[in-house]
């Protein structure tokens, strides 16, 4: 038996997840495909029009939207990265102690500065 190296390692505890994902995907697709065999299909032009309270649609449906959504998405990415840094820190906090406390306080302080900046620039204000 050769030693376990990344070349011949199998994460067996993840096998059930893979199977569940396949089953979940197959369940979703399967229910729709089986349903397609049974349901009625009687469509005409008016039915296939986008819903706009019975009026013929006016203008482009996919208009350009406020840049606010982009700022929110960008801030979300930043804070998500921050959260990901916090997870392993929380796990090893016991073992590193004071050292870990100080460095994370520094990290959070820097981000809070950015957060206050975003607040002051009204990135969270919606009107």
């Amino acid at each position: 038996m050769s030693p376990i190296t990344p070349g011949n390692y199998l994460p067996s505890e993840y096998l059930p997840i893979m199977i569940l994902m396949i089953i979940a995907g197959a369940f979703g697709a399967g229910a729709l495909i089986v349903g397609a065999l049974f349901r009625i299909r009687r469509s005409y032009r008016e039915k296939l029009m986008p819903y706009e309270s019975g009026n013929p649609p006016i203008g482009e449906p996919r208009y350009r939207f406020s840049v606010k959504f982009y700022i929110i998405a960008m801030l979300f990415v930043v804070f998500d990265v921050e959260a990901v840094f916090l997870y392993p820190w929380a796990l090893v906090y016991d073992k590193i102690g004071l050292y870990a406390l100080i460095e994370m306080m520094l990290f959070i302080t820097v981000l809070v500065v950015g957060y206050i900046y975003a607040w002051k620039k009204e990135a969270f204000k919606w009107d």
């Binding site: 030693p3 376990i4 190296t5 990344p6 070349g7 011949n8 390692y9 199998l10 994460p11 993840y14 893979m18 996919r62 350009r64 939207f65 840049v67 606010k68 959504f69 982009y70 700022i71 998405a73 960008m74 801030l75 979300f76 990415v77 930043v78 998500d80 990265v81 921050e82 990901v84 840094f85 997870y87 392993p88 820190w89 796990l91 090893v92 073992k95 590193i96 050292y99 870990a100 460095e103 520094l106 990290f107 820097v110 981000l111 500065v113 950015g114 957060y115 900046y117 975003a118 620039k121 990135a123």
Partner: protein, 168 residues
């Protein structure tokens, strides 16, 4: 044998998915394929016993960055994008350069040698879990890069707001 089959599946699927991503006309379809690709990359991380990175791969790339991509794509005028010219005029040059690089890489695979076995073997990581092993290193030995990361994130916040505010 089984690990090799899984690796083969993930590797081949990733190449196919990457090709699908760059050949789609509609950028939203590309993003959907990219979502599938990120799951396969997470699968490769699992085969390397890097379960924390696999989870982070999905949380950050699939759950955050790709959503940002979608927002940006939706801000563009897709009709122009779809009806426009597919490839730049210089594409034969690009293809030949990448073909040469591919051949060079193939030639070097014969000289491939395994690196020495390090301190963090799969058994060691398994016994103290991947996330903890990573945390211990990151918050002691690699403390400085970690604090730098907070500054980079700060720049990202400021940059996004400055850019967006200028436009509106």
């Amino acid at each position: 044998m089984l690990p090799k089959i899984f690796f083969g599946y993930f590797a081949i699927a990733m190449v196919v998915l990457s090709l699908l991503i760059i050949t789609r006309r509609n950028p939203v379809h590309s993003v959907l394929w990219m979502l599938v690709l990120f799951f396969h990359i997470a699968g490769l991380y699992l085969l390397l016993n890097a379960e924390f990175l696999a989870a982070v791969q999905v949380i950050l790339y699939a759950g955050a960055i790709l959503v940002l991509f979608l927002f940006v794509i939706m801000m563009l005028n897709l009709k122009e994008e779809i009806s426009g010219e597919r490839f730049e005029g210089a594409w034969p040059l690009g293809v030949s350069v990448s073909a040469i690089i591919f051949v060079l890489m193939l030639l070097t695979t014969g000289d491939f040698v395994h690196g020495p076995v390090g301190k963090y073997t799969i058994e060691v990581i398994k016994s103290e879990t991947h996330a903890k092993a990573l945390g211990k290193l990151l918050y002691t030995e690699y403390l400085f890069p970690f604090e730098i990361a907070s500054l980079i994130l700060l720049i990202a916040i400021v940059g996004a707001i400055v850019l967006a505010k200028r436009r509106s």
